[in-house]
């Protein structure tokens, strides 16, 4: 097709860069934008920029937050003796939704993967170790049950062994090969409750 409208094409191209959105969907979304009221689209544009401008990562746990340290880290009702280690901030949302866990978090920012060049230095491992001097008694390893998440948990368990803190791994109770995002919440809640 030679018939092209530049600004529309630019929008389609940019939408198609988003994960899970192909050319066809991008086109559909772009035409939807065309049809929608200007104010509504302005709201969307503002929200997109606000996320970029206001959301940063917590300097303690590396969770996403608008205030540093994050709400979880400063909440006096959270149990500061337990840290749950996860790969991504989205994992925190999954676990928080269960209303089961009352401790703190630590977001690694990924999982070990030689194929993707992810070494322990590229993850927030050193930062995790530096949090252990205080009142922390237990670390829950809740990395994803992928092979990379499993390796990361094995690695961390080795590193933590000599520090004298209790280490538990929860994802083993999950179906093999799954992703913590997709783990059904009952399984995950059970895993967290039964971690001893």
């Amino acid at each position: 097709m030679n018939y092209q409208i530049n600004s529309l094409n630019l929008l389609i191209e940019n939408l198609a860069k988003l994960p899970g959105i192909g050319k066809k969907t991008a086109q559909r979304l772009a035409f939807h934008v065309l049809k929608t009221e200007r104010e509504e689209i302005a709201e969307l544009a503002k929200a997109l920029l606000a996320v970029k401008d206001n959301v940063k990562s917590c300097s303690v746990c590396f969770n996403i937050t608008e205030n540093d340290p994050c709400e979880i880290c400063v909440n006096p009702r959270r149990d500061k003796t337990i840290i749950c280690v996860v790969e991504e901030a989205s994992n925190v949302i999954t676990i928080e939704r269960l209303n089961e866990y009352r401790g703190l978090y630590h977001i690694l920012g990924g999982a070990l993967s030689p194929l993707n060049g992810i070494t322990p230095e590229k993850l927030k491992v050193r930062e995790l170790l530096s949090r252990l001097s205080g009142e922390v008694e237990e670390i829950i390893l809740a990395t994803n049950p992928t092979i990379e998440g499993e390796a990361t948990a094995i690695y961390l368990a080795k590193v933590l062994k000599n520090i004298g803190v209790k280490v538990t791994r929860i994802a083993r109770g999950l179906p093999m090969g799954g992703d913590i995002e997709y783990a059904d919440e009952v399984t995950l809640a059970k895993a967290i409750a039964n971690r001893n």
């Binding site: 070990l112 993967s113 194929l115 322990p120 092979i147 990379e148 499993e150 094995i154 080795k158 093999m176």
Partner: protein, 351 residues
């Protein structure tokens, strides 16, 4: 279980076709190049969601078409039915549904429609390379154990990571420990099940070999692990650690289930390099009969069986003996150019 009907659209040389099958023996008869193997391949697709001839689905797509579809209607022992639909679209891949529910993870489907397949290439199980024998083990055991298939998939992924680590290895032994520890988890599950499988099939293998050969030769099969000590997961990890120097020097993961092998023995002699062509063929036929028995007892359902072109060099009497060893309930698909070989009451599909 048996396949009652299959429909093909744009699959290989078929534009649109439908076939009805019977429980028992179904013979595809016709000259070479008519599409007998293609139909056998379509049946295999419905059980394994892939071909036994090619690893690329595109080859199975009818020339200059964009999409093929296979529909199979299966009946199970308990009276339940299963309709499997496989739709392949060029450049997009496969979509599968069972009873109108989409199959999201193909590995979850494997084993739900058990199948034993024998084609000429499978003769390499006894005289070909070790990878042929590992493939044989993997295909059978994956259909009877989810843990096996899951472990196998995860094992393969860990090996890729480990190889990458070894490629640029700079004394990160803590990282190699990490991946080896994970590897030993899956390696243990796999070796355990491979050994159990062999233990289960060897008596039948030996029995069927004697029946088919009319002789007294003892057949047995030994699992040859690339690791010496594999009783526990810790054993495997320790073995990997002991052999680490070799792996570091070779820059590649050289020990584990991806390097293991089987040895078939005839009267104590290694069949590879010792057995005649005829003995190899008898061995493979006996192995397939033992595989069918294993599947039956593990899955609790008769597997579908496919024999593509493998009876061409056998005489009528041997073929009769072979089918005499199968149960009447087993559904069999055989391709042949020579119907005279099948004198019994069989369901014929002419090409």
């Amino acid at each position: 279980m048996f396949l009652k009907q299959i429909s093909l659209t744009n699959f290989r040389n078929q534009q649109e076709a439908k076939f009805d099958f019977k429980q028992g023996i179904n013979v595809f008869i016709g000259k070479n190049g008519q599409g007998k193997t293609n139909l056998a391949e379509a049946i295999h697709y419905l059980c394994f969601l892939k071909s036994f001839r090619t690893s690329s689905d595109e080859f199975a797509l009818k020339k200059s078409e964009k999409q093929f579809q296979l529909t199979g209607n299966f009946n199970f022992k308990d009276g339940s039915e299963s309709e499997v639909i496989l739709l392949y679209t060029k450049n997009e891949g496969k979509l599968v549904s069972q009873n109108h529910k989409s199959v999201a993870k193909f590995s979850d489907f494997i084993g739900s429609h058990p199948c034993v397949c024998l084609s000429l290439e499978d003769l390499a199980i006894s005289n070909g390379s070790p990878s042929e024998r590992r493939k044989f083990l993997d295909v059978v055991i994956s259909q009877t154990s989810k843990v096996y298939l899951d472990s196998l998939i995860r094992y393969g992924k860990v090996i890729k990571q480990k190889n990458k680590l070894l490629e640029n290895y700079e004394n990160q032994s803590d990282l190699l420990d990490t991946w080896d520890e994970e590897l030993s988890v899956y390696c243990f599950e796999i070796i355990k099940r491979r050994r159990e499988f062999l233990k289960r099939i060897i008596p039948n293998l030996s029995y069927f070999y004697k029946k088919l050969s009319g002789g007294k030769e003892e057949v047995t099969c030994v699992y040859e692990s690339s690791l010496e000590n594999t009783e526990t997961q810790a054993d495997i990890f320790n073995e990997l650690t002991r052999k680490r120097k070799i792996e570091v020097a070779k820059k590649t993961a050289s020990f584990g289930i991806h390097r293991d092998d089987l040895t078939f023995k005839l009267n104590g002699f290694n069949a590879k390099g010792f057995a005649s062509q005829g003995q190899h063929k008898t061995l493979i036929l006996a192995l397939k009969l033992a595989e069918i028995e294993f599947m039956k007892s593990e899955v609790g359902e008769e597997p579908i069986t496919i024999f593509d072109d493998v009876f061409s060099e056998l005489d009528e009497q041997r073929i009769g003996e072979f089918f005499g060893l199968l149960s009447k309930e087993t559904q069999v698909f055989v391709t042949t150019t020579n119907l005279d070989l099948f004198e019994k009451e069989v369901w014929k599909i002419k090409f």
